[in-house]
């Protein structure tokens, strides 16, 4: 089993790093770089949402942390002269800290209440970005520099993006690498003691706390990790678009992050990745249908839900059974 998994992982990495650039090179569809970069980054944020599902909470507030992470990174880069690579973890940490502060009161809520509060949180973040002066209100922050060189002890790990002949390829590599790291971390968490405890929260919180699980602490930890992912994704996104506005991440995005998790399947670590790929690509492919795009897209979504209410990856269970 372990060996089979390793082979699968190797195959996936070969596909992501060698296969995709090759296919794009052959077919000449360089616009896929941008699409796939977006998918990779969005799936990081969705992975965070998935972790909150794992402790039994419905999180529709990831857009808030993506926006916060984006703004932290943008402000650090444009006003304090940080490099992108330094601002990326700082944005994540800022979101994690924010999540602890916000999470302490709201994680006491459950079920639909928690879902609704997080939904409202996205709107709060947008309004805050509009009202504060450091975020420059509705004008947003524009002309954010491209990521510079990243070197450790004089060895250049990542060259300066502005010297690359095609920064899009650079972003693709960065996003895919980040995604693989994020999902490896997620997989490790799920298969650790922390993951087992989280599962106990998902099933029955009272029972878990009665046998000595520190539920309040676990909830906040999981939520903070989830928001860290959101912040990272948001910060990377604005590095690509080189601008950020209060409307960069809004309620629709938060809802989409949640949908990605549902669609892929809540029982699988890779669920959010697959869900993001399907939703984003599905939407893009339907672009040719013009004004019927939304109609077809939503009908497919509803049909998929009717056929596979437990997510696409639930097809795997049936084979086992």
């Amino acid at each position: 089993m372990q060996k089979k998994n390793l082979v699968l992982i190797a195959l996936f990495m070969a596909l992501a790093y060698i296969g995709v650039p090759w296919i794009i090179g052959v077919s000449g569809r360089t616009d896929f770089y941008y699409t796939l970069t977006s998918v990779a980054l969005l799936s990081i944020a969705s992975g965070g949402v998935w972790l909150t599902f794992y402790i039994g909470r419905i999180n529709i507030g990831q857009g808030a942390y993506a926006l916060a992470g984006g703004y932290v990174s943008a402000v650090l880069m444009t006003q304090y002269g940080f490099s992108f690579w330094a601002s990326l973890p700082l944005a994540g940490l800022f979101c994690a800290g924010l999540a602890v502060l916000i999470g302490l009161p709201i994680l006491r809520l459950r079920g639909v209440y928690f879902a609704m509060v997080t939904l409202v949180l996205t709107e709060v973040m947008r309004l805050t970005a509009l009202a504060l002066s450091i975020t420059q209100g509705a004008k947003g922050i524009t002309s954010i520099p491209l990521p510079g060189e990243l070197s450790v002890f004089g060895v250049t790990l990542v060259p300066d993006f502005s010297t690359m002949e095609n920064p899009k390829v650079g972003f693709y590599w960065m996003a895919v690498t980040l995604m693989i790291i994020a999902f490896a971390v997620l997989w490790r968490i799920v298969n650790s003691r922390l993951g087992h405890l989280c599962r106990s929260l998902q099933q029955n919180e009272e029972l878990a706390s009665s046998i000595g699980v520190n539920t309040a602490y676990l909830r906040v930890i999981a939520y903070a990790i989830s928001s860290f992912f959101g912040g990272i994704a948001g910060a990377s996104f604005i590095a690509i678009s080189q601008s950020i506005y209060p409307s960069s991440f809004q309620v629709v995005d938060s809802v989409n992050f949640m949908l990605n998790c549902f669609l892929g399947g809540l029982g699988y670590v890779l669920g959010p990745m697959l869900g993001t790929l399907m939703l984003y690509f599905g939407w893009d492919l339907l672009f040719t249908t013009g004004k019927y795009q939304l109609l077809i897209y939503s009908s497919l979504l509803i049909a998929l839900m009717l056929a596979l209410p437990n997510g696409v990856l639930s097809l795997l269970d049936r084979k086992k059974a």
């Binding site: 079920g111 639909v112 209440y113 609704m116 939904l119 309004l127 549902f262 004004k291 897209y297 839900m305």
Partner: protein, 289 residues
């Protein structure tokens, strides 16, 4: 000050109607209806079509809105929510379905009615003016009164009719209600239809005053969520209280906070967070809904 209170009451009556439908659906089926705002917009467009294009009286337009939305709601429950709830392992999966329906309704509205802002002429002209203490156009007063009458009728229906009693029993305890011979499927469908019809009615009422456009659905849903959080999800009195409280806060906030810029909703959201951390189940909700 009097003006602010009257404005708040008028807003609150409409908000309470939206929240009532949402909370009814939630209490019966544990479904958070993301498509509620879209249903409200659809109701507005139905009234607009009936009144502005077919020259029907406003009242008939309202009734049509309620009927069309009731049919839509009933069908959505029977053919979409019911099978998914039966098959799904986690009941939250219905959220994906609800969001899909919201997108779908958006698409249908866009294709059928277009993206333009639509409105119908005032139903009554003139402005009520009491010494410049309270100034209120007559049509707003009429709409407010109609909204309050609908709320009263709804409460009476839920309290005293057989169907209303059955729905309240279902909301309280589904298993016990089934054992007592309540037809769960039929009343879930009826409840969903009724909830959707309420959303349609509000849309029909508002099209005379603010008009209606495609983009109003999402924000309306968010406001409705806030109202039922304030009052407590799944409780009828809570939805009404939540609606009036939000209406009042908006009305007061727009007046008092106007000098600090557009921060009314920021303040409302922030105070909602604080309130919910002190009382997670809302004003009148049962703990953990």
């Amino acid at each position: 000050m009097e003006q602010i209170i009257v404005n708040g009451l008028y807003l609150g009556a409409q908000y309470a109607l939206i929240a009532l439908g949402l909370t009814l659906i939630f209490s019966l089926m544990n479904v958070l209806n993301f498509a509620h705002g879209q249903m409200y917009v659809l109701g507005g467009f139905v009234t607009y079509t009936a009144v502005a294009q077919f020259k029907l009286p406003f009242v008939i337009g309202l009734v049509l809105s309620a009927v069309v939305l009731a049919v839509v709601g009933g069908l959505v429950e029977k053919y979409l929510f019911r099978p998914v709830i039966k098959k799904s392992r986690r009941e939250e999966s219905t959220m994906l379905l609800a969001a899909g329906i919201a997108f779908f309704l958006d698409a249908v509205i866009l294709l059928v009615f277009g993206e333009k802002q639509r409105g119908i002429p005032k139903i009554i002209d003139g402005v009520f003016n009491w010494d410049f203490i309270i100034v209120m156009p007559y049509d707003r007063i009429v709409i407010g009164v109609i909204a309050i009458l609908i709320i009263a009728a709804f409460i009476l229906f839920m309290q005293y009719s057989r169907a209303g009693r059955a729905m309240r029993a279902l909301a309280q305890d589904k298993v016990a209600a089934t054992l007592m011979g309540v037809a769960v499927d039929r009343y879930s469908m009826l409840g969903f239809a009724l909830g959707a019809a309420l959303a349609g009615l509000v849309g029909g009422l508002l099209v005379t005053i603010t008009g209606i456009n495609l983009g109003m659905g999402g924000p309306a849903s968010i406001k409705a969520f806030m109202m039922i959080m304030i009052g407590g999800a799944g409780v009828i009195s809570g939805a009404i209280a939540g609606g009036f409280i939000l209406g009042m806060m908006e009305s007061v906030g727009l007046t008092v906070l106007s000098e600090y810029g557009d921060i009314t909703y920021l303040v409302i959201f922030a105070s909602l967070m604080v309130f919910l951390s002190l009382r997670p189940q809302g004003l009148m909700g049962k703990p953990w809904g």
